[in-house]
C-alpha cells in the first residue's frame, strides 16, 4: 500500500479518535448544568411516613374512686392507639398513653374541697405541664366536687376530673371515659380533617374548613376605628389600654403558635359601600345579610393592611354609623337583629357596628363625645379572633361540665389542639412541597440546582423527620417548632429565584442548533471511517480467496 494512503488512513483514524474520545465527553461536560444532589429517595419515603401523635395522659386515682383490689394494681401504664380514618396518603395514628397512679396527699386534700374551681386552685402546680400532656383526676362516684348529674369536668388548664366507679370492670369503664375526655381536649378526627382540609379530596365547601387562617410564622392584627361622621361624633377609644388588658394576654397565650404584632388606626370619612335600609317598625336602620359581602371592599383600600407586613393580616373594624343612619343593626337571614351586631369574613377579619346611645344626643350640641365601651367591643373581637384562628368548640362527651376559658379567653388545651392541628398541617404542606419540587427537578433536566437550594431541601427533610419523632414521643412544643422549620425550609427551596425554567427546547430546535455545528465535521470523519472499514474487510476476504 502506498505510504500516503496509509498515512491518510491513520490521519482519519486519529481524527475520529480525538473527536470521539476527547471531543464528545468535553462537549457533554461543558454543556451540562450544575445540579447539586438531592435526597430523592428520602423525599419519596416521606410520603409513606406514618405519623404517630402521642398524648401523654397522667391518671390520678383518689382513695375511694375504684375498688381496693384494683387500687393494689397501681401504678401501671395503658396505651390506647387508634388509626384516624382519613383518605390521606400519610397514615395518622392517635396514641393515648395513660400512666395510672395513686393520688398524693395534697391532691387528696384538694380533691375533697367543695368545688372544682377550688380544687384546681389548690392543685395548681408551680411548673406548667408540658404542651400536649393532660392530667385526669378520678374522684369517687359520690363525691360532691362535681354537680350530681355531671360525670366529668374539663378545666381551663390541662386538667380534667372524671368520676370513678366501684365495679369489677372499673378500669375499663373509667378508661373509656378518660379517653372520651382526653379526645375532647386534644385530638379528634375533625380537628385533623380540618388541618388537612387542602390535602383531602373531599368536600371543600364546608364553612368550618374554609375559615381558619393557614399556618404561618407570624400574624399581623390591625384594629381600625371608622368614623364616617366626625361632625356629629367625636369618638374616643382607649385602644392601647384595651390591647394591653385584653388582647395582649390572649396573644401571649397563643404565642407558641407564631409571632403576633398588633397595631391600630382611626379612619375618618370612611363609609361603608352599602346604603342601609330604614325599618319603620323599630325606627332604626338595618343591613341585610345579602348586603354584607359588599361592605368590605370599598373600605379595604383605605386600610393599608397590605403595606404593613409580609405576614397574613387580620383586620378588625369598629364602625360608628353616621347620625343620619343611627342606630344601625345587622340582620341575619331571618330578619332578626344580631345580638353582637358584628360579622366576620374568613381569612380577612371582622367588622362590628357600634351604635351611639341615643341619650347622648339630648344633652349637648354636636359633635357628641362618644366613649367606646372597650369591654363589649373586645368581647366580640376576641371571639372573632378565635373563630378566625380555627379554635373550634370541642366535642365534649355527654354529661360533662366544661369550664369557660380563663380571663385570657383561651384555655391551654385549646392551644394544644391548635398546635396539634398546625403541626400536622405543616408536615403535610412541607411533604407536598418537597415532593412536587423533586418531581419538577426530575422532569426538567436543565434547571440548575444550586447548593443553597440543596441544603434547604436537606434541612427540610431532616426537620420533617425530627418533627415526626417528637410527635411520636409526645413532645408537642418541639414538634411544632420543627414542623415550622420544615415548612420554612421547604418553601425557601421551592420558591428560590434561581429555579426558573425559562428555556423550552423542543426537539426540532435542538437539532436545528447542533446540526450546523457538528454535521460538517462529522460527515467527512464518518465517511472516511466507513471507507477504511470496507477496505479492511475486503483485504481480509482476499487472502482466503487466493488460498
Amino acid at each position: 500500500m502506498p505510504s500516503e494512503v496509509v498515512r491518510g488512513k491513520r490521519a482519519a483514524l486519529f481524527f475520529a479518535a480525538v473527536a470521539i474520545v476527547l471531543g464528545l465527553p468535553l462537549w457533554w461536560k461543558t454543556t451540562e448544568t450544575y445540579r447539586a444532589s438531592l435526597p430523592y429517595s428520602q423525599i419519596s419515603g416521606l410520603n409513606a411516613l406514618q405519623l404517630r401523635l402521642m398524648v401523654p395522659v397522667t391518671v390520678v386515682f383518689t382513695r375511694e374512686s375504684v375498688p381496693l383490689d384494683d387500687q393494689e394494681k397501681l401504678p401501671f401504664t395503658v396505651v390506647h392507639e387508634r388509626e384516624i380514618p382519613l383518605k390521606y396518603k400519610m397514615k395518622i395514628k392517635c396514641r393515648f398513653q395513660k400512666a395510672y397512679r395513686r393520688a398524693l396527699d395534697y391532691e387528696e386534700e384538694a380533691l375533697s374541697s367543695g368545688s372544682a374551681q377550688e380544687a384546681e386552685a389548690m392543685l395548681d402546680e408551680p411548673q406548667e405541664q408540658a404542651e400536649g400532656s393532660l392530667t385526669v383526676y378520678v374522684i369517687s362516684e359520690h363525691s360532691s366536687l362535681l354537680p350530681q348529674d355531671m360525670m366529668s369536668y374539663i378545666g381551663p388548664k390541662r386538667t380534667a376530673v372524671v368520676r370513678g366507679i366501684m365495679h369489677r370492670e372499673a378500669f375499663n369503664i373509667i378508661g373509656r371515659r378518660i379517653i372520651q375526655v382526653a379526645q375532647a381536649m386534644s385530638l379528634t378526627e375533625d380537628v385533623l380533617a380540618a388541618a388537612l382540609a387542602d390535602h383531602l379530596p373531599e368536600d371543600k365547601w364546608s364553612a368550618e374548613k374554609r375559615r381558619p387562617l393557614k399556618s404561618s410564622l407570624g400574624y399581623e392584627i390591625t384594629f381600625s376605628l371608622l368614623n364616617p361622621d366626625p361632625k356629629s361624633h367625636d369618638v374616643h377609644w382607649d385602644i392601647e389600654g384595651a390591647v394591653r388588658r385584653y388582647v395582649q394576654p390572649f396573644l401571649n397565650a397563643l404565642s407558641a403558635a407564631g409571632n403576633f404584632s398588633v397595631d391600630s388606626q382611626i379612619l375618618y370619612y370612611a363609609m361603608l359601600g352599602v346604603n342601609p335600609r330604614f325599618d319603620s317598625a323599630s325606627s332604626s336602620y338595618y343591613l341585610d345579610m345579602h348586603n354584607l359581602p359588599h361592605v368590605i371592599n370599598p373600605v379595604e383600600s383605605r386600610l393599608g393592611s397590605s403595606a404593613a407586613s409580609l405576614y397574613p393580616v387580620l383586620n378588625f373594624l369598629l364602625y360608628v354609623p353616621e347620625l343620619a343612619h343611627s342606630p344601625l343593626y345587622i340582620q341575619d337571614k331571618d330578619g332578626a337583629p344580631v345580638a353582637t351586631n358584628a360579622f366576620h369574613s374568613p381569612r380577612w377579619g371582622g367588622i362590628m357596628v357600634y351604635n351611639v346611645d341615643s341619650k347622648a344626643y339630648n344633652a349637648s350640641a354636636l359633635p357628641v363625645r362618644v366613649e367606646v365601651d372597650m369591654v363589649r367591643v373586645m368581647e366580640v373581637f376576641l371571639a372573632q379572633l378565635r373563630l378566625l384562628f380555627g379554635i373550634a368548640q370541642p366535642q365534649v362527651p355527654p354529661k360533662c361540665l366544661l369550664s369557660g376559658p380563663k380571663s385570657e379567653g383561651l384555655t391551654t388545651w385549646e392551644l394544644d389542639r391548635l398546635l396539634w392541628a398546625r403541626s400536622v398541617e405543616n408536615l403535610a404542606t412541607a411533604t407536598t412541597t418537597l415532593t412536587s419540587l423533586a418531581q419538577l427537578l426530575g422532569k426538567i433536566s436543565n434547571i440548575v440546582i444550586k447548593d443553597n437550594v440543596a441544603s434547604e431541601v436537606y434541612r427540610a427533610v431532616a426537620a420533617i423527620q425530627k418533627s415526626a419523632e417528637e410527635l411520636a414521643s409526645g413532645h408537642l412544643a418541639s414538634a411544632f417548632v420543627a414542623s415550622q422549620e420544615a415548612v420554612t425550609s421547604s418553601e425557601c427551596a421551592f420558591f428560590d429565584p434561581s429555579l426558573l425554567h425559562l428555556l423550552y427546547f423542543p426537539d426540532d430546535q435542538k437539532f436545528a442548533i447542533y446540526i450546523p455545528l457538528f454535521l460538517p465535521m462529522a460527515v467527512p470523519i464518518l465517511l472516511s471511517l466507513v471507507k477504511i472499514f470496507l477496505e479492511t474487510r475486503k483485504s481480509w476476504k482476499k487472502p482466503e480467496k487466493t488460498d
Binding site: 365547601w205 364553612a207 371582622g350 423550552y504
Partner: protein, 372 residues
C-alpha cells in the same frame, strides 16, 4: 264502615301533611346545600393583567388591558390584589394628542386611564421571565409587595393577556416569546403549590386558542378571542388619535362588563356568548374541561369582582370588667388637665441666639488662625 273510612282519610291527610312538611324542610335543606355547593370556595380574588406589546401603533393593546383593569377595580378588587403589567406607556407617549388619557371608544367617550391607575410592571420590566416569576412566585426577596402575586389556595385568579401572538406563542416586547407549553408548566407549578383555587385565563391575540391548548392543571377555565388559524381584529380607529383604539373581542367584553355590578348573578355562559362571529369576525373559543364546576354556576363576579364570604358572629367571650376602669378614667382626668394649659408654638428659629453664638464662635476661630 264510615268511621273507618273517615279515619283512613284523616290518616292519609295527616301523613300527606307530614310528608309535605318533611319535604319542605328537606327542600330548604337541599336548597341550602345546593347554594353552598354551587358557590365557589374562594375567599379572595387576584388579577394579573398583561399587555405585551410596545410602540405607539399598539395603542389598542394597552387600552384593552386598561379596560379590563378598570372593570376589575370597579367590581371590587383592590389595587393591592392586581398585578398590572403594561409594556409601554401610551398615556404619556409623545405621540398622544390627548396626554394622560387612554381612550377605548371612538369620539373619546371613555377614558380608561382614569385618575387612579397603579401600574406594577412597566415598560421594559414586562418580560417573559418577570411574568413567569410573578406566576410561580420565584421572586427575588427585594421585590416590593405590590409586584408580587400573594395568592393562596383560596384565591380565584383572573389572568388576561393581550398582544401579538401566533400558533403556540405570544410575543413579548417584539423581542421574545412565551410558548403555550411554558405557560402550561407555569400553571402546573402554581397548582402544585396551591397558589390558586380557580383560574380564569383570557387571551386576546391572533390564534389565541392555541395558547390554552396545552393546559393540564385542574380548575382552569380559558377564553380566547380567536381560533388557531384566525386573526383577531381590531375595532375602530379614531381619526383624532390616529390609531386603532381597541380590539374587537375586548371591546365587546368591556361593554358586557359595564353592565355587571357587584351584586349581579350573571354567569359564565353569558360571557361565552359575547362577541359572536358576526361582530368579531374571528370565532372566540373557550375551554372548560379542566374546570370542576358547571360554567352556568360560575358567577362573573367570582373572577372579576371581589365578593367576600361573610358569617354573622354569634358568640362572644366573657371578659371581666376590672377595677382598672377606675385607673383609666383617672388617667383621662389627668390628661384633660394637661390639655387645659394653653398651647403655644416652640421657637422655630432663635435668631437672636444664632447671631450671638456666631459672634462668640467666630472669635476663637479668628484667634486660632492668628496663632499660626
Amino acid at each position: 264502615m264510615a268511621v273507618s273510612h273517615c279515619f283512613s282519610r284523616a290518616a292519609s291527610a295527616f301523613t300527606a301533611v307530614l310528608l309535605f312538611s318533611f319535604g319542605c324542610v328537606a327542600a330548604s335543606h337541599i336548597e341550602d346545600q345546593a347554594e353552598q355547593f354551587f358557590r365557589s370556595g374562594h375567599t379572595n380574588n387576584w388579577a394579573v393583567l398583561v399587555c405585551t406589546s410596545r410602540f405607539w401603533f399598539n395603542y389598542r393593546h394597552v387600552a384593552n388591558t386598561l379596560s379590563v383593569y378598570r372593570s376589575v377595580k370597579r367590581l371590587g378588587i383592590p389595587d393591592s390584589h392586581i398585578v398590572l403589567m403594561l409594556a409601554d406607556d401610551m398615556a404619556c407617549n409623545p405621540r398622544n394628542p390627548k396626554p394622560a388619557t387612554v381612550f377605548s371608544h371612538k369620539n373619546m367617550e371613555l377614558n380608561v386611564y382614569g385618575d387612579d391607575v397603579e401600574v406594577d410592571y412597566r415598560s421594559y420590566e414586562v418580560t417573559v421571565e418577570n411574568f413567569l416569576r410573578v406566576l410561580t412566585g420565584r421572586i427575588p426577596p427585594s421585590t416590593p409587595r405590590s409586584k408580587r402575586l400573594l395568592s393562596d389556595d383560596r384565591s380565584n385568579i383572573l389572568i388576561y393577556m393581550t398582544g401579538h401572538g401566533g400558533n403556540g406563542f405570544l410575543k413579548f416586547q417584539d423581542s421574545e416569546e412565551i410558548t403555550n407549553i411554558e405557560l402550561a408548566d407555569a400553571f402546573e407549578q402554581m397548582w402544585q403549590k396551591r397558589r390558586y383555587n380557580e383560574l380564569l385565563f383570557i387571551i386576546d391575540t391572533c390564534q389565541g386558542a392555541s395558547m390554552y391548548e396545552r393546559f393540564y392543571s385542574p380548575n382552569i377555565m380559558a377564553l380566547a378571542s380567536s381560533q388557531v388559524g384566525e386573526d383577531s381584529l381590531s375595532h375602530q380607529p379614531d381619526p383624532a388619535i390616529g390609531v386603532h383604539l381597541m380590539d374587537r373581542y375586548t371591546f365587546y367584553v368591556l361593554e358586557f362588563l359595564e353592565e355587571i355590578n357587584p351584586a349581579s348573578q350573571t354567569n359564565m355562559n353569558d360571557l361565552f356568548q359575547v362577541c359572536p362571529k358576526s361582530l368579531c369576525v374571528s370565532t372566540p373559543g373557550h375551554r372548560t374541561d379542566l374546570f370542576q364546576r358547571d360554567p352556568k354556576n360560575v358567577l362573573i363576579t367570582d373572577f372579576f369582582g371581589s365578593v367576600r364570604k361573610v358569617e354573622i358572629t354569634t358568640e362572644t367571650i366573657n371578659l371581666q370588667q376590672d377595677s382598672e376602669i377606675m385607673e383609666s378614667s383617672y388617667k383621662e382626668d389627668q390628661m384633660d388637665e394637661e390639655l387645659m394649659e394653653p398651647l403655644k408654638y416652640a421657637e422655630q428659629l432663635p435668631v437672636a441666639q444664632i447671631i450671638h453664638q456666631h459672634f462668640e464662635d467666630s472669635f476663637p476661630l479668628c484667634s486660632a488662625l492668628h496663632s499660626f
